[in-house]
């Protein structure tokens, strides 16, 4: 794999975040539709709930990704 420039790492994280947000929103929307049809008599709120859950999961993943430390020459050491 070719070496990636370090200054592009932030851009790649944003790309990952946007892609993950789209996927999570779609998955939450889809699962909300499934649950709405199967259990909740075609009401609208499960769809909104599922979409919101998907967005929340995406936000959490993005936050974790942006706050993760940039490892240059180190390695993770198990806590004593």
């Amino acid at each position: 794999m070719a070496k990636m420039a370090s200054e592009g790492e932030l851009g790649r994280k944003w790309d990952r975040c946007m892609a993950d947000s789209a996927v999570k929103l779609g998955a939450g929307f889809g699962l909300g539709i499934v649950f709405s049809v199967i259990f909740f008599k075609r009401k609208t709120w499960p769809i909104a709930f599922g979409s919101g859950m998907g967005l929340g999961m995406a936000y959490s993943n993005c936050q974790h990704d942006f706050q993760s430390p940039y490892l240059l020459h180190g390695k993770f050491v198990k806590e004593q």
Partner: protein, 110 residues
């Protein structure tokens, strides 16, 4: 037949369908980390045009080729500003070079 049997069976079937939907979403990596979600989107982008092509040929429709959709906000962010600056920088270099040449030629000739 017991009266509870039909509602119980209906609940089991509905629960199975809902559980299967959740499991498929989890198995495809839609509910995992950011990296898995991005990978799932890439796989979907790669799989969509051939699937559309196959279905339209099966039905008998003629559709124009699917446009390529590249999901990369970081590439397009500030792209106008960067392109403008590169153009100005290149133009400034060309102007300076032509001025330098004309001055050099003037000094040499005189």
């Amino acid at each position: 037949m017991a009266a509870w049997l039909f509602p119980a069976a209906r609940f089991v079937i509905k629960g199975s369908l809902a559980g299967a939907a959740v499991y498929v979403a989890y198995d495809q990596g839609l509910l995992g980390s950011g990296t898995q979600g991005a990978e799932a989107l890439r796989k979907a982008q790669a799989a969509l045009p051939p699937a559309i092509q196959e279905w339209t040929s099966y039905i008998g429709w003629e559709l124009p080729p699917t446009p390529k959709f590249d999901f990369s906000p970081s590439d397009s962010w500030n792209k106008g500003k960067i392109t403008s600056y590169q153009t100005v920088k290149g133009a400034r270099g060309q102007v300076w070079c032509s001025l330098y040449k004309s001055c050099f030629n003037t000094v040499l000739l005189n």
